[in-house]
Symmetry: C2
Subunit: 244 residues, 2 copies
DNA sequence: GCAGGAATTTGCGCTGGCGCAAACTGGCTG
DNA sequence: CAGCCAGTTTGCGCCAGCGCAAATTCCTGC
């Protein structure tokens, strides 16, 4: 059950720099600089299924995910949902304001219980000027997201559903895969519906595909859970030229 | 016939700041600062159908389009082409390096004879530091392209072909429409195939749709030419909820 | 003015994947 | 521990849009 987002503020305690020192985003900053970055932040817990921010809402903050997984979702006026991406540990997100927007273009939903650092947007220009490598890293992240999104456009334009779903699974596994005795498992709850919303198809079709793949021993899956047993076979499927 | 790209260098003459003073990208810069920006640039002419840069090639420069229209195209290993976007007058493009890439992720092809300013990438960090508003404007551009691309993902995921083509036409008309006595014309040559590559369908389907729309008086079209007579009707088509 | 070729149109048959509907399952709640 | 419900599976029929093919039109270069 989605309990209400409990914005438990860090109660006056200084955040420890070890929280972020290991993140590539902050590479090159000295201990003192990390402390300075953290001085502007607070740490917030987001229970599973709660919204970190909502589409169209005033963009007041940007975020760095310390723990958990976040689903970024765009909803159309007609009520269709499309999953824009998943955010994993260590990534920056909600940077709308740094890109000249005043509202968030999508919603961010905690896929599991999450912890994030939150900075008010007012600090963005100050921080990115004071720590140019932080600014540059953020823009690089934006750049690679643009590339990924273009890749998705290409996939949606040229591939069959089966290839798209295979690609999506492989991407999730590479991004967040946890080794288990069965194979590599996507380490957050993900439904057939979610996969459908990532690939532009329906949960029915995803269900049929996963069933067929399970039959053939490529994966094992359960409720909101997918484990890839034979990634190579999936790659073959994903790359398999269609007849267009 | 695509003649060879003729990189006619500006022969030692200083570029006039009036070339770029009116562009939003350079808003806020003084006359002296504009001159300084231009000192690092050269002006190059690209004949129709020539490549400004090629996908996978080493990213050596970034560009500002002074005149013409440029088609940005991604080609898949299987040989499918997807049009990523059209660049119009005044826009910056080829900023791969500023986003941490060493190669161009797509090709840029002159849709008509074009003129662009070209800066070596080596100057990027210097220029964006010296003229922060220029850097910020560029990143805003990247941000809005990311949003547009997400919108395209949503369209590809949730809309029927007819809606997608209608949306694409409306976007082209808004971006580059020229008023004529017939209606609003897309002011560069665009084929059915091009429209198909923008919307993830085939030239046959696009042809059928345009024929039907012409029949109904919404557009008039010819070879590589589309004129929208009734934008409102197209909007209705584009927004028309499908049955999903 | 004519030949050649690129762009477009149109017909036809087929099918991938969707919509709809119903049944089933596993985990959580009271 | 019974019941409920979200998530999943599966069958069935249909159709939007693709592949293929052929005809036609318009533009360009000679």
């Amino acid at each position: 059950m989605p309990t209400r987002p409990t914005h438990e503020r860090n109660k006056g305690l200084a955040l420890d720099r070890s929280l972020i020192a290991r993140l590539p985003l902050f590479k090159g900053l000295t201990a003192a600089e990390l402390d300075e970055m953290l001085r502007g932040a607070r740490s917030v817990r987001y229970p599973k299924q709660s919204a970190v921010f909502e589409q169209e809402a005033e963009a007041h903050s940007f975020f760095v995910l310390l723990d958990g997984h976040i689903r970024v979702v765009r909803t159309t006026p007609e009520g269709h949902q499309v999953i824009v991406r998943y955010i994993s540990e260590g990534e920056i997100f909600g940077v709308a304001a740094a890109l000249g927007r005043t509202t968030y273009p999508a919603s961010a939903i905690a896929a599991v219980d999450c912890v994030a650092l939150v900075w008010p947007n007012a600090l963005w220009s100050e921080l990115s000027l004071r720590f140019p490598s932080f600014g540059a890293n953020t823009y690089k992240t934006v750049g690679s997201r643009l590339q990924e999104t273009h890749t998705r456009v290409v996939e949606l334009s040229t591939e069959q559903v089966e290839q798209r779903v295979a690609h999506a699974l492989l991407r999730l596994v590479n991004q967040t895969g946890q080794k288990t005795d069965q194979g590599i498992e996507i380490d957050f709850p993900i439904s057939r519906q979610d996969i459908a919303e990532m690939t532009g198809t329906t949960l029915h079709t995803v269900s049929r595909l996963l069933s067929a793949w399970e039959e053939r021993g490529l994966i094992v899956s359960g409720r909101q859970k997918v484990t890839v047993k034979d990634p190579h076979a999936l790659v073959v499927l994903a790359e398999h030229r269609d007849r267009r």
